[in-house]
Amino acid sequence: MISLGVMTVKINDELEAEFRRKVALVYGAGKGVLSRALEDAIRLWLESVGKPRGVKFYAYKDGEKVAESDTLEGLAEALRSRGLSVREVVIVSSDEPEFERLGFRARRV
């Protein structure tokens, strides 16, 4: 059985009117359409927040790859699910710098 959360939020009147108008257009006027549209909107927002930039992250233990993800949060989750601590692994990325250049701002280095 799916459990349903309840959120009480305040949003801008115009945004609400526009949202309700578009929901009616896209989903029709049936029961639960507002919740369905809001769930879709939240999913889209969550995807955009964690949007990867084409970089992969890997965790290696004793030379063997034990986890990989498009995000560090995903890698951390994968390590937790395997009961591994970050101290036990080596983290590398597909975008690992070999050499950096520092600007004048870092002159005290």
């Binding site: 970050v86 983290i91 870092a106």
Partner: protein
């Protein structure tokens, strides 16, 4: 607006997260970072910030770097996430440190995939994601 220009320097508000330990810096507030287009890396932070995030607990990487005055130094780096205030995205990358670093510098690697507009008419910095 994502940040502002003060004393001819572009600043943005950031928060750094260590997703492996669930630690953030600052915990509930924002930190001022300078956009440094002369820095090719992701984020350079003072040692105090690096240690507060528990990044020393990762197997720290050593990255060679050349300073603006031609010296070669070795930076220490560990992976962490970055949130720019007002920007709907989490950026992941190598956070580096070195003795003597006094401010948080946001480098060009962190800005990849972002549109940065420095508006000297209004003194503001706008950042959004390339579409």
């Amino acid at each position: 607006m994502s940040g502002y220009i003060y004393s001819y320097t572009p600043f943005v508000n950031v928060r750094i997260l260590n997703p492996f330990l669930g630690v953030s810096y600052p915990e509930d507030d924002w930190l001022l970072a300078v956009i440094d287009t002369g820095f090719t890396g992701f984020l350079l932070v003072p040692e105090k910030v690096f240690m507060s995030l528990g990044l020393g607990e990762q197997r720290v990487k050593v990255i060679r770097a050349r300073t603006a005055d031609g010296r070669e130094v070795e930076l220490r780096g560990a992976y962490a996430s970055l949130i720019l205030r007002g920007l709907n995205v989490v950026l992941d990358g190598l956070v580096e440190t070195h003795e003597g670093v006094e401010e948080v510098l946001l480098g060009m690697r962190a800005l990849r995939g972002l549109r940065v507009i420095l508006n000297s008419c209004t003194g503001t910095v706008s950042i959004d994601v390339c579409r």
